[in-house]
């Protein structure tokens, strides 16, 4: 009997381990969440927690009318521009600070200041200084993200293996080759960390920017639904955006990271 129980437990553990390795390990928690949501919403029957099916219906309607794609497109455009600008400037500043102690000392105060100014303050200041424009919105988001990228890349640049740079010097590699073949690959984990983290933060800030001073985008739509206390609409747009972010992670970040890290296996 004991042996039978032990064998059953072991096979259950094996199934669990196999399950954890598979794709289901990612999908099942989501399905579980939806089930809990469905059950809770059915029990509560409250306007503040609509049924998942109602949210999906609104999502479909918005998709059908074209509103969802328009607002999603506007938000994604802002996210893409701010993300590219923040990564470009943040990486450059971070590498400069990691490479030169003088630049590190000169910029460190600004970096700490920028890191600690609340996003909301930067957004309001940009709207006041540059007007309620697209440029102001993008500048506000970019300024919020640059310090985070810079800090991460500074740590990466500080951790670069000087021994490998010596190899580049001995074998007279060009500056370009040294940068792309020796220096940059060492920063890859920091770049991916910043990019992932950056995307997550940027889209949240973009939504605030849209809520405060734009007349389109997911943030604007959520703000509109909020005024009508329409939870279904709010959740429909949130879900749509979450799906886009999941897709970016699954279709771009993961394959790219796997490719860049294939030497680690």
């Amino acid at each position: 009997m004991v042996r039978f129980l032990f064998a059953s437990m072991q096979s259950a553990l094996n199934i669990g381990a196999r399950f954890a390795k598979g794709r289901w390990a990612r999908i099942l928690p989501l399905l579980l969440l939806v089930c809990i949501w469905q059950v809770t919403a059915s029990i509560l029957e409250s306007k503040t927690l609509p049924l998942p099916s109602s949210v999906l219906l609104v999502l479909w309607q918005e998709l059908y009318t074209g509103d969802l794609l328009f607002h999603l497109g506007m938000t994604l455009r802002r996210v893409a521009i701010s993300f590219a600008a923040a990564m470009l400037l943040g990486v450059a500043i971070g590498m400069l600070m990691g490479w030169s102690k003088t630049w590190d000392r000169l910029l460190d105060t600004f970096l700490i200041l920028a890191l600690n100014i609340p996003a909301l303050v930067t957004i309001i200041l940009c709207y006041i200084w540059f007007g309620l424009s697209e440029t102001a919105a993008v500048i506000a988001v970019t300024l919020n993200k640059i310090p985070m990228v810079a800090i991460s890349l500074r740590e990466g640049a500080r951790a670069v293996d000087k021994n490998l740079l010596q190899v580049a010097k001995i074998y007279r590699l060009s500056r370009r080759e040294t940068f792309f073949k020796v220096y940059l690959p060492q920063l890859t984990p920091y770049l991916f960390g910043s990019a992932r983290n950056g995307l997550a933060i940027i889209w949240k800030i973009v939504l605030v920017v849209e809520l405060l001073g734009r007349s389109n985008g997911v943030g604007f739509q959520i703000s509109s639904y909020f005024h009508f206390f329409d939870m279904t609409g709010i959740l429909a747009y949130t879900l749509a955006f979450a799906l886009v972010i999941f897709s970016i992670e699954a279709l771009i970040f993961r394959p790219l990271e796997a490719h860049m890290n294939r030497w680690r296996t």
Partner: protein
């Protein structure tokens, strides 16, 4: 004609400690010179000064390259660790340094080079997929593939097991005999130095200088356990019992 003339009057570390003082020697084209000294004698510092990785010293390191006087020769450097780029395959690691030497005579393909050191079929592997000995082979190949006039080696086989190290020493002698670069081989093992070099320079403890210059007149290739090497080793230590500690008796230094 000499290929390399070293005359370092003084090299001090950042903490003021004097690492090298009045260290003078030269090396001929194609000569294999081993440098033996106690731990902390500044052997690695010496190679860094010669290779220009460190420029902070009083004195001079002068090259008389085959191409032109005072032109820095092509240098190969084998460090204590293989120092391969872990994100590049073996072939990419070799191509990277070979590409930088575009003026080189590239009559041999990378595959031929790999086959020469027994690494055929490993070109597409990453360094992390190779054993320690195989990584050293790649690093050795990388140093030779640039057709160096001067090859600097900093205790390259120290952390390997004895059979692998012996194989690599034989491989090194083969490659050296085939291409004839001037070699400066730093080691703390007298046997290793005698089994490889045409001439062995002994350094004193810090501040480091040359205390003894011993020519080794034995035919290549040699193995570390050759009787002749063993005899020479024993004779040297009999004559200078404290040689490996960095002192000779009586004091003599012929350069």
């Amino acid at each position: 004609m000499t290929l390399l003339s070293v005359d370092i009057r003084k090299k001090a570390y950042g903490n003021g400690c004097c690492a090298i003082e009045n260290l003078v020697f030269s090396a001929q084209p194609g000569e294999f010179v081993a440098i033996v000294g106690p731990s902390g004698a500044g052997k690695t510092t010496l190679l860094n000064l010669i290779s220009d990785l460190d420029q902070d010293m009083e004195g001079s390191v002068t090259f008389h390259s085959a191409q032109a006087r005072q032109v820095k020769p092509r240098i190969g450097f084998l460090f204590q660790e293989p120092r391969l780029m872990p994100w590049l395959t073996v072939q990419q690691n070799l191509a990277l340094v070979r590409h930088a030497q575009s003026r080189l005579h590239q009559d041999r393909s990378l595959q031929d080079w790999l086959a020469l050191v027994g690494l055929q079929g490993c070109g597409d592997l990453f360094p992390g997929q190779l054993s320690g000995g195989m990584q050293r082979r790649v690093a050795l190949l990388r140093a030779f593939i640039v057709d160096p006039e001067l090859l600097l080696m900093d205790e390259p086989f120290q952390s390997l097991d004895a059979p692998t190290a012996n194989q690599l020493r034989l491989l090194l002698q083969d490659l050296w005999q085939a291409t004839s670069p001037t070699v400066l081989f730093v080691t703390h093992s007298l046997r290793e130095a005698l089994s490889l070099a045409d001439r062995v320079l002994f350094l004193s403890p810090q501040p480091s200088r040359v205390i003894l210059n011993v020519p080794v007149d034995l035919k290549h290739p040699r193995a570390i356990d050759d009787v002749a090497v063993q005899h020479l080793h024993d004779a040297l230590l009999q004559q200078h019992p404290l040689l490996l500690g960095g002192s000779v008796s009586p004091i003599q230094a012929s350069i």
